[in-house]
Amino acid sequence: MPMVVATEPAPAPPRPRRRSPLLRHHGLYLMAVPGILYFLLFKYAPMGGLVIAFQDYMPFLGIGGSPWVGFDHFVRLFTEDTFLVLLRNTVVVSLLLLVFAFPVPIVLALLLNEVRTRAFRRTVQSVIYLPHFLSWVIVASIFYVLLSTDGGSVNNLVVAAGGEPIPFLTDPDWLRPLYVGQEIWKGAGWGTIVYLAAMTAVDVQLYEAAELDGANRLRQTWHVTLPAIRPTIVVMFILAIGDFLELGFEHMFLVMNSLNRQVGEIFDTYVYTAGIQNGQLSYAAAVGLFKGLVGLLLVVMANRLAKRFGEEGVY
């Protein structure tokens, strides 16, 4: 790259014809090619498979031979009771995540930002990052062992304290708290990275000025740090909204069982049960397509909203 810059003559009189930016920065564009290819190959090309949502897809006949059924699968989706259950479960869990899990990394980052002992701060940071690197299988297993009524340590404590064992794993009322709790435990530490990075960019002079005006630590955080990272928070929020119906299959699948399925079955797990376990591939594709469209709509809306409030948005 330096070469490109070097060969470019310094402010010269307007030349008769300029080379197109594509040619001028060919090095940069070349570097983007693998990324573009990746998206074309693994994100766009598979979208072609979505046509099976409008077919009665049979693997043996293939896409070419399976009969077309139009919107039958969507009609079925919207008319069956399951749809409302799925929508309710997904929306409730997503809202809980937005309300309880989304702010946690921000608060954590603010707290960490105030820690002045470097060594302590580094240690805490590393420790809270770690759960991010555990897979959901491990996280779910750890909680399973801790919370089981059949010899789990938490319930052993409860019983030792004179209580009745609590069926954390099977009681439908416990599923959502458990789910959100696990999301926080696993993801909160990792989530602080973005905010901490944003905070390093805050001009130190602002703090000094605030201090001169008599602001204490809390006031400085409120009036300096938070406004400074607001654009970051907004972007993260828009991204989170985009995933509103996209909770991810793995986590819920691992904590769900037939006793808490009524509150646990979300679109992602339903696509799996209907498609892979019960073999209704077309129907599952229709559910997935619907979910994706709603996600797209939400992102666009959230982005508009952010721009109206004077923020930058994601695009």
Binding site: G64, T170, A274, I276, N278, G279
Partner: protein, 501 residues
């Protein structure tokens, strides 16, 4: 026009895929020579896969003259793996289909994805001897889309900790009432004498509805998945009075705490571990399992006092003795051969010949006991002793569930549980109740059953654990009627009437 273009594209892609596949495998038929290598997608019931190119695999290759590449599918995830494989068409030359009522498997079978092997069986000595009853059970719409796995007709029973019975001075239970009392005593009377309240009676698992409890409901008179009513209707067993009566009883057992309270979260492996650790004393399972529980318990504690009573004659009230078949009356699924992988009749014959050779006594011995002198030894009376349990578990056991027939030879074992289990399973045959709908056809069943069964399964679990009442369970059944349950009953009943004139 457009369609034609897509067709060409698909054809080209397929051809490409096939060429690549052909390049991938060594000497794969095609140019004259008979097929001498095959891939086999089969189920794994053990925690680890056997080593590639291990002793048994090599010995089997030698015996069959076929270069075998195993693709092991863990049994716990077989539905997902098989469905994914069927959907993507990425199959092996030989595919073990052991989930016989799965929607996707059935539609794959009827769609013509696999060879109809009926006309070829007579060419092979062992395959020609497969009993007609087994072939009947294996037919779908009158077609035989694979070589049926042959198993004992009914392997289930109840195994009870004999040493716990002795500690408490109890007799081996033979009725549901006695069994209930044993379950209570195992929970409340400290059968292992350690002074702690850490045992239960029944030790059940997630698949209760489909496995353990289903077998118990059979004692109450419920059918194996479906049953024929007096007026010729073929109805799901889970909707019958006998089944609901059994559910009420089991709910009582649960409420008493005499079954592990979180069985809905327990996987098969956890269940085996729990039993080996002495958490529970009654298991509804295959009568061959006692040996495995002991082996597992002994690997943790060589001095474990574990002893088992094997019971195959539990009865309830005035219901005559019966036992539901866990193997579809001795048909454990199909060894199916995809037409996409094995393209010519000659290659098909080679694969069938391979299956046939696996049914020779020599191959059966390899897949059951292993290699003489290395895994087992035989004494003058023909009694088989496993000499290296660890090696047997790692190298031999994984193959045993892939035996095309489990009925080739019955060995006398030095392990009394094995002999007793074999004897009791043979007795079961007389009282066996099979699924009457197995050879009937219902399009709705093939398409919807997996979904319906899951909802029944959930309602069952909720009822047993006390989340809902019987009225709610019945309401679930009512709501399923409109979702295909009634259609299945109608189609099966019509098919039954046709078959039985």
């Amino acid at each position: 026009m457009n369609k034609a273009r897509i067709g060409t594209a698909v054809a080209t892609a397929t051809a490409l895929a096939l060429t690549t596949a052909a390049c991938g495998s060594s000497a794969d038929g095609g140019d004259g020579g008979p097929k001498d290598s095959l891939t086999w997608m089969t189920m794994l019931h053990t925690p680890t896969t056997p080593e590639k190119g291990g002793v048994i695999e090599t010995a089997l290759e030698e015996h069959t003259g076929m270069d075998i590449e195993f693709q092991w599918v863990p049994d716990a995830s077989k539905e997902e793996k098989l469905n994914a494989a069927l959907a993507s068409g990425e199959l092996a030359d030989l595919v073990s289909l052991t989930v016989i009522d799965d929607t996707q498997v059935r539609s794959a079978l009827t769609s013509g994805m696999f060879w109809d092997v009926e006309d070829y069986l007579d060419e092979f000595p062992n395959l020609a001897r497969i009993p007609d009853a087994t072939l009947d059970a294996a037919r779908i719409d009158g077609e035989l889309y694979g070589v049926p796995y042959q198993k004992p007709a009914a392997r289930y029973g109840v195994v009870v900790r004999q040493d716990w019975l002795d500690n408490l001075g109890l007799e081996v239970p033979h009725t549901i009432d006695e069994l209930t009392e044993v379950a209570r005593a195992f929970t409340e009377d400290d059968p292992d004498g350690n002074g702690k309240d850490d045992t239960v009676g029944f030790y059940d698992r997630e698949e209760s509805f489909r496995v353990g409890f289903r077998s118990l409901a059979g004692y109450f008179g419920a059918g194996q998945q479906f049953e024929v009513t007096d007026d010729g209707q073929v109805v799901p067993a889970a909707t019958t009075d006998a089944f609901k009566e059994a559910m009420e009883w089991y709910r009582g057992v649960y409420a008493g705490g005499w079954v592990n309270q979180e069985f809905v979260t327990v996987q098969k492996q956890n269940q085996q571990d729990g039993i080996a650790q002495g958490k529970g004393g009654i298991v509804v399972t295959g009568l061959f399992e006692a040996k495995n529980y002991n082996a597992l318990a002994r690997s943790a504690d060589p001095d474990t006092p574990m002893e088992w009573a094997l019971v195959n004659d539990i009865t309830y009230d005035d219901v005559p003795r019966r036992i539901l078949s866990d193997t579809n009356g001795g048909m454990g699924g199909w060894l199916a051969i995809p037409t996409t992988e094995v393209e010519t009749e000659d290659d098909l014959r080679a694969v069938l010949g391979f299956i046939d050779k696996l049914m020779d006594p020599e191959a059966f011995e390899l897949m059951t006991n292993g290699i003489e002198g290395e895994h087992f030894e035989t004494d003058a009376d023909g009694v088989v002793t496993v000499i290296d349990q660890t090696a047997w578990e790692q190298e031999v056991q994984p193959f045993s569930s892939s035996r095309p027939s489990e009925l080739v030879t019955t060995y006398q074992s030095s392990d009394e549980y094995v002999n007793l289990g074999n004897e009791l399973m043979a007795q079961n045959a007389e009282y066996m109740v099979a699924n009457p709908a197995q050879s009937l056809t219902s399009e709705t069943f093939d398409r919807q059953w997996s979904t319906l069964e899951q909802q029944l399964n959930d309602a069952y679990n909720q009822y047993i654990t006390g989340q809902i009442e019987m009225a709610d369970y019945e309401a679930t059944i009512e709501s399923l009627r409109g979702q295909g349950l009634d259609a299945i009953v109608d189609e099966y009943s019509a098919s039954y009437a046709e078959a039985n004139g």
